[in-house]
Structure formats: C-alpha cells, structure tokens
Symmetry: C2
Subunit: 240 residues, 2 copies
Amino acid sequence: MEVLIVEDDPLHRSYLHETVRAALPECDAVFEAENGRIGERLAREHRSAHIVMDLQMGERNGIEAARTIWKERPDTRILFWSNYADEAYVRGVSRIVPEGAAYGYILKSASDDRLKLALRGIFIEAQCVIDREVRGMQQKSLGSINGFTDAEYEILIDIALGLTDRTIARRRNLSLRSVQNRLQQLYEKLNVYQAAGEEGEEGRYNLRARAVTVALLRKLLNYSALEKAEADLGEWLRSR
Amino acid sequence: MEVLIVEDDPLHRSYLHETVRAALPECDAVFEAENGRIGERLAREHRSAHIVMDLQMGERNGIEAARTIWKERPDTRILFWSNYADEAYVRGVSRIVPEGAAYGYILKSASDDRLKLALRGIFIEAQCVIDREVRGMQQKSLGSINGFTDAEYEILIDIALGLTDRTIARRRNLSLRSVQNRLQQLYEKLNVYQAAGEEGEEGRYNLRARAVTVALLRKLLNYSALEKAEADLGEWLRSR
DNA sequence: GCAAAATATGCGGGTTCCCGCAAGACGAAG
DNA sequence: CTTCGTCTTGCGGGAACCCGCATATTTTGC
C-alpha cells in the first residue's frame, strides 16, 4: 500500500508521516506534497489510492485538489485533516465527494488515536469516518432547522461577491423579484432583522452587507469559499 | 532568563520550545500557554519579559493578548510567529506596539535560522526584527501609493459590519455626506469602479458589498479583524 | 389527478445609496 | 495675507434596494 500526504506545514507533514507509518504497517511507501498542485501531480503519477490532505493550503487548497483527483479516479480514498470545521469547508467537501467513495474528515485537534483509527477505517475498511464536530456541521448544512437551502447559499454567495440584484437575476435565470424574495428569506434565516429596532433608529443595519458579515462570523462563509466563488464568477463573466 | 510560549498547535508549541532552548542557552525556564487567555495569565504571574506568540488562536487571539500584556508591562518583548502576513494582522500589530518596545514578526514558513536569529535579536539585543514579507505590508499600510488612511480603513470596517450610512455618521461623528465622501474614496482605492461598464450593464456591482469582498480577497480584512470590529461595535451600541 | 404548499413573477411605494455640484473650514506653503 | 490643497457639509436627483400585496407556476403529498 502507498499513501500520499498533502500538507503545507512541514511539522504537520512529518507528524503525519510518522503517524501513517505507525498506524499502517502494511504501508510500503509514503509520498509527500507541500501543496495542492504538487499533490495532484503526485497522485496522478503514482495512481495514488490513499491520500491524507490538508484543506487550507496556499498554492491550491484541498477541496480543489480533491475535486480534480476524484474526477480522474473516483474510488480514491481521501482523509481530510483540517484545523477547522467551518460550515463552508464541510459543505465544500460534501459537494464534491463522488457516489460511494470512502473518505474522512478529522480535525487536527483530534487525538493521535482518533487519527490512527480514521486512517485504518478509511484506507483498510473503506469506511467513512467523520469527526463528531464536523458531523454536526453536516446535519446543519443538509437542511432541517438551522440549515440553508442551496438556493439560499447561492444567493448568499452572490451578494457576498457584491453583485447587484439585476446581475444575480441574469446569472441565476430568475426574475428580479425572485432574487429579492430569496434575499428576504436569507435575511430571515440569518436573523438580520433583530436590531433594526423600529423608530428607535438604534443599530440600523444595511441588510445586504450585514448578512454577509453574519455569515462570515458564523463561518458559513470563509476565505476559501469566497476565493472559489470569485473564480467562478470570473469564468461566468468571461463566458458572455 | 525566562521565555513564555503562547501557541495553540501542540506540534508548533513543542517545536518552538526546542528552538528557544537551542537558540537561547541563557534561558533558564520555558513556560507554555495554549491560548491567549492562559498566555495573559501566565505572563502576569511570571512577570514575563520575553514572549513568543502565535497570532491566530481560538480562545483569544494574539493581538488581543498582546494588547493587555503590553498595557500592564510596556517593555515586554514579544515575538509574533504567524502563518500569515495579512495586512489586517500587520496593521493590528503595529497599532498596539508601545513606544520604543522591542518586538518581532516572523512567518512560520521562515527557516530555523531566521527564527533563531530573531529570538536572539529581540530578546538579547532588544532589536526589532520584521520579516521581509511582513515589512512589505507595513510599507503599504502606512501610506504612500496603495496605502489606506485610517479614515478609509475605519469606514471599510463600518460597511463590512453592515452599518448604514446614517449609523456610521453617528458612530464617527460625521455628517452623512462626509461618510459618503469617504466611501467614494474607498471605492476608488479598491478599484471597484472597473467592471461597472457604462451602459453595457455587464458585471455591475453593488459597490458597498463589492468593496468588502475585494478587501477580504486582498487580505486587507480577515476573520479576526471582523471579529474584533464586531465586538467593538457591540460595545458602542451598548454604551448609548 | 388534485389540493395544498412552496416558489416565481409583476407592480407600486418608501427608503437608502451613490454622487455631481457648490460652498465653508482649516492648515501648509509662499 | 493670500492661495492652494484637503476635508467637511448641504442639496438634489437618479438608481438600487427592501418589501407588501396579488397572481402565476411548480412541487409535493396523498
């Protein structure tokens, strides 16, 4: 068995290396990549079937790397090992995992044993191993109470990018009023109406801008999600 | 000599410990704290004069911790050791460093030797040691071409928080029109006017929201800056 | 298949935002 | 003192935003 490690922090990389060696005696070789781009290349060259990957990397982040890797080999098993359980990351990952693929999501704050268990579970047993904290996020992002629809998430991204209502309507093939409906829906869910305060005039917010802030503070959105959204937008703009 | 380490990642913490021992043989004792709050407490208890600190920590980030520490003992020497050179961090740090204090800002990606040199430079020689990459940011944030005035930065934060023009005016003791002037100034500097595109109507942006996005993408703003700004806002709201 | 519920559209209006124009305030040079 | 540059404020208007109300259209559950 061969394992590929994709992680930009040298300390974490060598720690992962040791842990993989310790948890998987059947492992013959361990390769290391220090960012997503190199990770993609090595995965292609070695036909890697077992990958441990950080999500937050400078050159090319884990989600993008995983997407292209999975596009080429959907049965690759990937363990994401990340510092954060931001809803933006969790949503990003579950968006791209192929049907039936085995994968995992473990926090860096997890213990040695949890990590080792996850390594064996995913690479040997083909299970899905998701940390408790991350699991909570998944529930939320898939609906139910505090959850956000795809439609709501989409419009959140659009206003976060700074698009006008009209532009959003064109981009999503909607009427102006529908866009505004979704916005109202979003404002509702994000609790942006609270401090508007009637005639009190105290703490009045610009709903549109406030919604983005609240989403950021709640980690519904984060830098890497914004970055990706911006890239998508650029592509769309160029295509017309 | 005693050194206090404030860093939430266990791997980085023990690496720092070793490096401090290696670089500073005259060091008698090393204390460790795993977040800003504990760091503040230990600094107080041990009257620490030499501190190495991460900026990004869950419980209480490095900038806040440093501020309270420096408030109690302005001659404390602090080496910030961070993953990022975001302008938001750099600006945050240079805002709080006391007159004449010795401090440093080293990136985690720097080599062993750079870190050791910085440790000796700051703790023994009382120099200021700022990494090249970080230095670049400082130039920018202090004025000149691509730089932002305090006024511009302030209004950027206010719209990022989602305040209305009127609220901003009250908060900053300005007239409505002045607020809007500063906004125009900000839009100018952030290059938000480019894709507005005349009658073409293509890619028209909501300037206010777009400005925040651009600032985030350029790392003029980041999560921790937003978090702090939100706390400040809450305080101001309560005070009236 | 049908009723109920959710979602999408159009219209009209009040509010906020964005900004050109012009007039005062203040400090820095000359 | 004058003049220039920068900052501030007021006014007015066009555009965008927020949203209540009423009407299609689609989806869902039975």
